[in-house]
């Protein structure tokens, strides 16, 4: 009798345990994704790829415009890729028109500032200084840095939005400072 009831209790416990596991597994996965999302966002800010202007974009997102941030970032990469290609052409042209080159870098910088792409803005500022001095070496060096940051940022933000989609529309990454 005692043995039977012991078996009964442990089988009850087993089924409770497995039903608990079944209901918490998606929650555990979700909270792991949320952590990854928060860490990715923190790294974007800590490493200076983004600044508080990005937070401003997130503030503008709401139920009426639920994908606003991703839409604006997509527009940014579309425009900036075109500008990078144009800069590539302008820098290889002979004779070099530093005025036109500067105008293109200026546009790129402005675009970057709208989404809070801080490192890109810094690299563009340096690039413009070299344009001003008509220093080709300097221009070429800073353009390499601009292109590198452009690729890095694109990759990191693609990951960010992918994670955001997995976590679900009701979630938002914690603020950069947390």
């Amino acid at each position: 009798m005692a043995l039977a009831s012991h078996r009964h209790i442990s089988s009850c416990l087993c089924s409770i345990h497995s039903s608990l596991c079944y209901s918490t597994r998606p929650e555990m996965e979700r909270s792991s994704l949320q952590r990854q999302l928060a860490n990715l966002k923190k790294s974007l800010f800590d490493q200076g790829n983004l600044d508080e202007q990005f937070d401003q974009l997130e503030e503008l997102q709401d139920d009426a415009s639920p994908n606003f941030v991703e839409e604006v970032v997509t527009l940014f990469f579309r425009d900036s890729s075109r500008l990078v290609a144009n800069i590539e052409q302008a820098i290889e042209k002979s004779p070099r028109d530093y005025g036109s080159l500067d105008a293109l870098v200026h546009q790129l910088k402005d675009s970057a500032s709208s989404i809070g792409a801080a490192k890109m803005m810094k690299e563009c500022t340096v690039f413009r200084e070299y344009c001003d001095k008509r220093n080709l070496e300097g221009c070429l060096r800073s353009f390499q840095k601009v292109k590198k940051e452009h690729s890095t940022l694109r990759l990191k933000l693609e990951n960010y939005f992918q994670l955001l989609r997995q976590v679900g529309p009701a979630e938002k990454a914690t603020r950069s400072g947390n």
């Binding site: 401003q56 503008l60 604006v72 425009d79 402005d110």
Partner: protein
């Protein structure tokens, strides 16, 4: 999902909704300014050049405010401002200039030419709220 801040409904409602024409050659900035204005309940039309802005102003006489970027190819925001202020039909429309550069001469020139205000980019919802009392 956070609700957007700065959405103080200044743009009005229904028939009394304020119609803003936003002019910027950058698609990113057009998206930003449109979102900020719409979250304050303004009705917004965006165009990517001064030329298109002038064409639209002829077709749509109900524009209550123009907000324009300063640096644009072909026609700058300053040139657009001048054209608007020189026109008897359009001169009453308030014009706000936006620029990423804080150049005092530029700002003064625009204000002297009749600009309502000069906003530094990136524009924030609080900048738009500031315009509220001036436009009504």
């Amino acid at each position: 999902m956070s609700s957007s801040r700065g959405g103080n409904g200044c743009g009005g409602e229904g028939e009394r909704q304020i119609h803003v024409l936003a002019v910027d050659d950058s698609s990113v900035d057009r998206a930003m300014i449109a979102r900020i204005l719409r979250s304050s309940k303004y009705r917004v039309t965006t165009v990517d050049s001064g030329k298109k802005a002038l064409e639209l102003l002829v077709l749509e006489p109900d524009v209550n405010m123009i907000i324009t970027d300063y640096w644009m190819p072909e026609m700058t925001g300053y040139e657009l401002l001048k054209r608007v202020k020189e026109s008897s039909e359009l001169r009453e429309i308030p014009v706000v200039i936006m620029s990423s550069e804080n150049v005092p001469n530029r700002i003064n020139r625009c204000l002297e030419e009749g600009a309502e205000d000069f906003l530094l980019k990136p524009v924030r919802p609080s900048d738009v709220s500031r315009l509220c009392s001036r436009i009504r």
